[in-house]
Amino acid sequence: MTDKIVSLSHVDMTFNVGRSNATVALKDINLDIAPGEFISLIGPSGCGKSTLLRLAGDLLQPTGGAIVVNGKSARQARLDQDYGMVFQAPVLLEWRSILKNIMLPMELRGLSRREQEARAHELLQLVELDGFARHYPWQLSGGMQQRAAIARALAIQPKLLLMDEPFGALDEMTRERMNSELQKIWQQTGTTVIFVTHSIAEAVFLSTRIVVMSARPGEILHITNVDLPTPRTLDTHEHPHFFELETEVREWLRRAKGYTVA
């Protein structure tokens, strides 16, 4: 594959190297991701999927192997602000209004104030938060805060959107709606996404490919190609092929040692 935005080759990650509590988190990870793909990482708790996400985002450095993002090192990609990140918690700055929170990455990039505000208003519309620009984070519900966090991640049109269980803290109904919205946003922006999740349904609904990982030390067990038609809607959940894909992923997860149904 020549056209790739992320390339992980023989990536190893060991924490506390050389100490008695050394832990091998990831072993020999090989994964190429094409531009515009939506990749979900799924696996048992503690299998290192969040670690893998942080390696791709240069928040951690691997103990072995190479990570190339957008044709350069992960570190360079980070310094060039190629990343947008969304975590399980929205981590909004409580002293900033929603608008100002979304402007944060643009400030760091040094865009003009007018550009920042115009773009932030566009993003508020995209995540359906128009009318909440002047609100403060604590005045919004959890789902709305998470939408603001997604808008912030998209603010600098990242080449790569890294999402670490972004909807893990939301209730089922909100989660389904957020999945539909994320799917819409992904198609509109054409950005590449790496998405960590515990939910099989969520992974099948959103992804182009699902990476199933084994229990620690995390290895790639299987990659499921999700060939469901797009755009996916609420009806997609009833599609017979949706069940087949869910079953495929579930069976691979059962093989991953230590998997417990949450």
């Binding site: 928040l59 060039d80 602000q81 990343y83 975590f87 409580e94 990039r109």
Partner: protein, 255 residues
């Protein structure tokens, strides 16, 4: 109107205590040098009003000067220690230990160093008293950051400087205001008490000790009331600035 209604019980209690005090002094014929009645104190207050304003202002300047020196130093040291973890690990245990030392005990020493008549000696005592709570609180505010927030900033390639400006400093503000409120009260206490160990004739603490020594307790009481009013005003001014500066913080926004 609402504010008056809410504070009505407190106001009522205040008046009731004054009346009880007045009545008790009359009823039990308490001698004036033990406890003068509120009316006697009020008369003494009005008789000495010009002098009280003069000495009150003198001591206020000491308190304000010490507050400014101590708080600035506390913030600067906190910024330095939070920047270099080695400095923080070395200094913080001492700062926390020093915070529980009765610093006012050093007042005679500092009076000796900087001159007993020199208001600067009192400012230095106040500065040392307010330094430690200021520094400890600021360090906490600068370092108590959600680790995920720091990951987010790093994912944008933000420099340490940008993280300081956009995350650490705003996060520290509520902690700093807690310290400012403590420091405001401490600075007035520190200034008056340090004057008890000797000082300029036109200082509040010197006036209180001299009048008390000559059994003019009603005058001492009227000066104590001035000290209370100044301390309270100082605290309320800091409170007002806090509300204007950090309206977003949970301690401020719901009240």
């Amino acid at each position: 109107m609402k504010a008056i209604q809410r504070n009505l019980p407190a106001l009522f209690l205040f008046v009731a205590v004054l009346l009880l005090w007045e009545g008790a002094v009359a009823l039990f014929a308490i001698q004036r040098f033990l406890l003068p009645s509120p009316s006697v104190i009020a008369v003494a207050f009005m008789d000495n009003i010009d002098r009280l304003i003069h000495i009150g202002w003198f001591t206020t300047k000491e308190a304000l000067g010490g507050f400014a020196i101590g708080c600035s130093a506390g913030i600067l040291v906190a910024l330095a220690t939070s920047r270099w973890t080695v400095a923080s690990e070395t200094l913080m245990p001492f700062a926390i230990a020093a915070n529980s030392v009765p610093i006012i005990a050093f007042a005679p020493i500092l009076n000796n160093w900087f001159g007993v008549d020199n208001p600067f000696s009192k400012m230095m005592i106040v500065a040392v008293i307010v330094f430690f709570p200021m520094m400890i609180n600021t360090v906490r505010g600068l370092t108590a950051i959600d680790p995920t927030m720091l990951e987010l900033m790093r994912s944008y390639g933000a420099s340490e400087r940008a993280i300081l400006r956009k995350v650490r400093l705003p996060n520290a503000l509520p902690y700093m205001f807690s310290a400012f409120k403590v420091a405001a009260t401490l600075s007035m206490i520190g200034a008056v008490v340090s004057e008890y160990f000797g000082g300029n004739r036109s200082a509040l603490g010197v006036f209180i000790t001299q009048e008390a020594a000559q059994f003019r307790f009603q005058n001492a009481w009227s000066a104590i009331i001035v000290a209370c009013m100044i301390g309270l005003t100082f605290y309320l001014v800091v409170l007002l600035i806090e509300r204007l500066t950090i309206p977003w913080h949970s301690s401020v926004r719901n009240t």
